[in-house]
Subunit: 208 residues, 2 copies
């Protein structure tokens, strides 16, 4: 029972994944993966998170400016982080049933036939969620927040492209797509956990 | 509690809708709508079904040939059927909670904020389902069946375009997209019915 959660930024996908793992009594891997990578390579966890979540350019310190090409070392580290991430995802999945958030786990673990969930929402709902979630000191304007949302999703789509033939977010690549617009995620989780259980025991061919 | 089911041909969407309506003890409208239209206009139910489900061209008898333009009368009837269908869908929804399959109910009833479900599946699963469902006398070859599947979905998408700004099948236009590939629908329904109940009682704004 391996469940992968892909999600639009601000859709509440992480919350949904965490709550699902609680309801199903399964381990949930998210930031844990970042920490494992940073330990393995002796890199700062914040740096690994940026490399992992963002594009190469975003990971590269702004202060140095973007007139220069990305140095070989940064490029190398970015690839290294991606490869290590895949290895860790594989290892975690082999340890047993779990919920994995992000990390292209839907495609990296395709051979294990996970239940692939995609969580999305409309713009107003995502904005609202982001603004509620943001710490006081990092309040963004609506325009800044929207730019950030777009950029992060664009990066996720790009990263996904490296491991998949179906585009990121196209429903054909997932088993269940959940629109969280205007909904309280907590309230949806118990029934969703039941759906997941029945999904894993409802293989059609097994019925013949 | 109005639930609309949109679906790819062969995905089992109709079965899912019927079973959901049973589980939720709600009326389910599908062919009933066709019968109501045919009664209202004194037209043959089979003819109405073709006009309703297929494109204008498909509704127009093949035997007359396609070299001629579609006569005014056929065009008129097709529009009349579409308009009557919308009116009936509105009327049924006003009567109370229900499940409506097809008929662009997701967009026609948008003002009532229905739970909009889209049911889809991969090609092999849809083919398998179609072939199992087909009566002995109407066995198609795989190529014929695939052509038919594509044509019906194309017609559904086209008809949907008339009432919607979001394309047919794009996840943004639905609240839940369910991939039935390789799954037994019957087994998914009880948990899905619970999900629907919690969806209707999980409005986010109500929590504040």
């Amino acid at each position: 029972m391996i469940i992968t959660i892909s999600r639009e930024f601000g859709s509440g996908g992480r919350e949904l994944g965490k709550r699902l793992s609680d309801a199903l009594h399964l381990p949930c891997y998210d930031n844990e993966i970042i920490e494992m990578i940073s330990k393995e390579h002796g890199l700062d966890a914040g740096y690994v998170a940026r490399v992992s979540e963002n594009s190469l350019r975003a990971a590269y310190p702004l202060t140095i400016g973007r007139r220069f090409s990305i140095p070989y070392k940064v490029m190398e580290q970015s690839i290294m982080v991606a490869v290590t991430q895949q290895k860790i995802v594989q290892k975690l999945a082999q340890q047993g049933d779990c919920v994995i958030i992000g990390c292209c786990a839907d495609t990296v673990l395709a051979h294990l036939h996970p239940l692939r969930i995609f969580v999305y929402a409309d713009r107003p709902s995502k904005l609202k969620r982001c603004q509620e979630r943001a710490a006081e000191q990092e309040k963004f304007t609506v325009a800044e927040m929207e730019r950030r949302m777009r950029q992060i999703d664009k990066n996720r789509a790009k990263k996904h492209e490296l491991t998949a033939s179906i585009p990121w977010g196209a429903k054909e690549g997932y088993d269940l797509c959940i629109n969280t617009s205007g909904r309280e995620i907590k309230a949806l989780v118990p029934a969703l956990a039941e759906y997941i259980k029945s999904w894993f025991s409802s293989e059609y061919n097994a019925m013949e």
